[in-house]
Each structure stands twice: as structure tokens, then as C-alpha cells.
Symmetry: C2
Subunit: 310 residues, 2 copies
Amino acid sequence: MSLTVVGSIAYDAVEAPAGRRERMLGGAATHFSLAASFFDEVRVVGPVGDDFDEASWDTLCTRGVITDDVERVAGGKTFFWSGVYSENLNERETLETDLNVFEHFEPKLSDAARACDVLFLANIQPDLQFQVREMCGEARFVAMDSMDLWINIARESLEKTIRSVDCLILNDEEIGMLTGRASTLEAAEELLDWGPSSVVAKQGKYGAQLYTAEGQFSLPAFPLKDVVDPTGAGDTFAGGFVGCVAAAGGEATHDVLVNAMAYGTALASFNVQAFGTERMPQLTQPEIEERVETLERITRFEHHPVALRA
Amino acid sequence: MSLTVVGSIAYDAVEAPAGRRERMLGGAATHFSLAASFFDEVRVVGPVGDDFDEASWDTLCTRGVITDDVERVAGGKTFFWSGVYSENLNERETLETDLNVFEHFEPKLSDAARACDVLFLANIQPDLQFQVREMCGEARFVAMDSMDLWINIARESLEKTIRSVDCLILNDEEIGMLTGRASTLEAAEELLDWGPSSVVAKQGKYGAQLYTAEGQFSLPAFPLKDVVDPTGAGDTFAGGFVGCVAAAGGEATHDVLVNAMAYGTALASFNVQAFGTERMPQLTQPEIEERVETLERITRFEHHPVALRA
């Protein structure tokens, strides 16, 4: 299998109760790639500027991520985002978003990138996502993310793109915004009618829900004592989730997706225990398997009927 | 087994997207009793005023709830609460809280109420909870709820009361406030050190988590399309949860509590599908069992190890 991801490669500045970083490697495609690289060969597509340094290239290449399709824009600066997290990490305020080389980004995919079996469209302008989706006509499984901004200013393009993919991964608030429905169940059923055969509602520290024609699956987040930096958690989840589907040959059955939810959740839990991408290059397979096993254990429930009173 | 609950019996006025009710039966002890009555004989303790009408007595007596310990305060008015829910039901604003007969409430328990095997201390002033807990020295399982108000203005009393019970049931934000810890896992472990052998972190529409010495268990809320009125969901959950422990002879093993989490969750899901207590008197045992089975199905996860790349 081969897996292509298109999205942002960025430098982030983050301030959190555990500390701060002035400039660290980030971006949706970066976080996705590092997680997905545990499952398949990943090809990352996105622009960087002249300021993209050697250490960042090294990190991006973790576990053989292929960077041939990373476009180095001469005279340009890498996308930059900065934000501050609240004391309990429940809220974050964006201080700065400098699109830089992302402002005029037009995805150019090599033949190898186009020939992917599995494709992830990270959160970028939905018309660009659609263009990439069209380029990758052979993909057996296409998943996408998006954000409130595009729901507000590019709804039509977003809807068209959603109708063209197999799996929509979105925060549950955004799913509510997109459909105008307060019930995530009802919203997900509507989105399944649009075309995707699966919808994932991300719920941040509460976990995530999967909806397919076969039903629903809910998984809590992995319980942690030391959340350091939630930046990139959603993209890391997507990397583990989509990577797991790629490892299953792109065959996105309900059972494969359920297992993928657990791997995505486990990977995201490691990501948030350090700033930016700091944890991922050190992460080992046994550590991942251990957390997936823990997820199985803490959600295991067998119904023991109780004698109820009439 | 016999189960005693002490707490508020109230009239509520609620405004929600689905409609409004000017005056409906509510209160923590009411919601708890109706749910717990599926599992055991329930004795409810709390004050009402002269205005407490026949229809309310009838509802309160559902499935044989014993109201002998409900104190009718001559010349008094029943506790009244009114609130408005936001469009997506995620927020609610309290418009009015009239303590009325609750202002000078001093719990007086009959011998039968004191002789309970299982006791639930619904959210009232923690010194009163402690008094009741002392009266019920024979109880095999004592659980309690509380709220942010008491964390802020009666922390010492609250801590003393928590140290005297077997199970603390609290919203996860309140658990954070109480312990000053952002991690619910870390907070729950600290609370287990205080004395309770189990802690339940309620997470509203996201579900609930159980912590014991044996580990953790997470359960999502039951997925619904039609949430009408979330008022009383937490107390209904507690009624199903504590009722289930009573049905197990007050033997609160980790496995019993896991099963109890599912019954509490199922009962709460019915409660929120109608205003106030409207759904509960019509509820049947097969309906409850069906939802617990659904909870088992939508959380079932078996770890299938994936060949991870080094």
C-alpha cells in the first residue's frame, strides 16, 4: 500500500501550562505523517519556505516518510501558527496565523503521489482538497478533515469535497455547525447520506465516535496524567486511523475502522504528552500496542442483566 | 436490600429548544428515586411545601417509592428552580433558585430510612450530607453527589463528607475544581486516596468514567437524536448506578460498578428524551435492557494487532 497526505507543514509557537516553544515543527500533514508512518509508506505533500531547516527535514523523514513532494518555495516563509492554551488545556487562543507559502499553494503531485492507494486530505481550502482528490483516482480509501472556517466561508466547496470522499473526520462541534443538528448521531447519519461511508466525530479529550452503515462505535480518549501540548492531536489521530486502514489494504470495513479508532487514539495520546512532534520519533511499537490493549481493557463491558422491578 | 436517598424535591421551570414547562416535578432526589425504583425499594427523604400537589405525590410514588420520610412543611413552598438551555443544549443558564422549604431543611430520618443498606446523598449542603451519613451507620454502600457551590464555600465540610463515603459521583469539571488537577485520572486517584473506593466522573453528553483500585472504565453516553431536556440527567444516572449496586446486594465490586455505569447511562438517556420526569413512569424493563445491550455493542472493541513499521 502507499499513502499520500496533503496539508500544512508549519512552524508553531505554543504556550501551555507545562512550558512554551517559540518555534517547533508542526502542521497537520506533519503530525499525520509521523503517526501514519507506523503503518505504511507515507508521501507528504505541502509547501515550505527557505526557512525550513535541516532538523525539520530530519524529523519529517521519520520512519521513511517520503518528502519528494514537499515543495520548497524559493523566497517564501513556512506557514506559522502561534497559540496559548488555558490552565486546564480546555481552551486555546490563536495569537497569529501567517499563511506565508500556503497563501498561494497549488498542490502539485508527482505520479507516485497520485498513484496512492490511500489518501488523506488534511485541513486546507476545500477546492484544493477536491483537486487533489481528483488527481488520485485510484485511491481505495480517501479521508478528509476540515475546520469551522471553511464551513463558514466555503460551504458549497466543502460539501462537494465531502461528497467525493470515503471518510469524513471532523470535530463534533463542526459536525453540528455543518449540518445544523445538535445530535451528533443525527448529523452523522445525514453526512453518511451525502456520500462518505464513514464519519468520525472527534471529541477532543473525551474521545471519538465512528459512524458507518453498520452502526456506531464510541471510544474514550486514552487517560493521561501529563498532557503537555494538545496541538496536532487530531491530525495524529487521523494518521493512526488512516494508517491503520492502509495497513488493512485500504479495506475500510466497520471492524477495520473500529480497530483504526483505537490506534488513532493511542497515537494521539503519545503526541499530546510532549510539545509538537517531540514524542513521535522516539515512540516504539510495543508502546503503541500497550496503549491499544489498555483501551480495550478500560472499555470492556459485558451486560449482566439485572432483575428489574415492574 | 433497602435504599434511602436524601435530597431535593422541587418544581422546575425549563425553557429548551423543544419547548417549555412552567412548573414540573423535579429535584435531585426525585430523579434519583424514579430511576432507582427499577432496582430496589427506595425511601426518599426531603422537604416539600403546601403547594406540593397530588399529581406530584403520584409521580413520586412511581414503582413503590416510599414517601413516608418526605417532610411536608406547613406554610412552606416547595424548592423552585428555573433555567434556560442554549440552542444546542450545551449550556444552561439558571434564572431563579428559590430554596423555600430547603432553606432550613434538617434531615429527619425514620428508623426505616436509617436502616438502609444503600444510601445516596444527593447534592445538598455537605454538613447535612455528613449528618445523614452518620445516621445510616449500617449502610453497606454510600454514594454522594455535590456541586461547584460547595467546593467554593464549604470545602472543608465537603472533604470531610467525601472521606466518609464509598463512592463520589461528580462532574469532571467539579473533580478538577476540587483537586486542582487538570487530569481527571490524576484527580480521581487523589480522591480515591481520600477514602472512597470508587469515583465516577460524569461528562454530560460525552458519558462517564469510573475509577476504582482495580482500574478505570469509560462509557459514552447513549447516542440520541432527540434530547429534549437534560435536567436531572445526572441524578437519573446516579439512580440507575446506585440502584444497580443495591440490586447486587450493596457489593460494589469493580464488575458490579461497571454494569451499574451502563444501567445509569441507559436510564439517563430516557430521562433526557422528555421534560422533567415525564418519561420515567412509562418506562419498561425491556426498554432499559435494550439500551444496555446497545451500549455493549457500540463500545465493543477487540484489539487486532497491526504489523507496525520500525
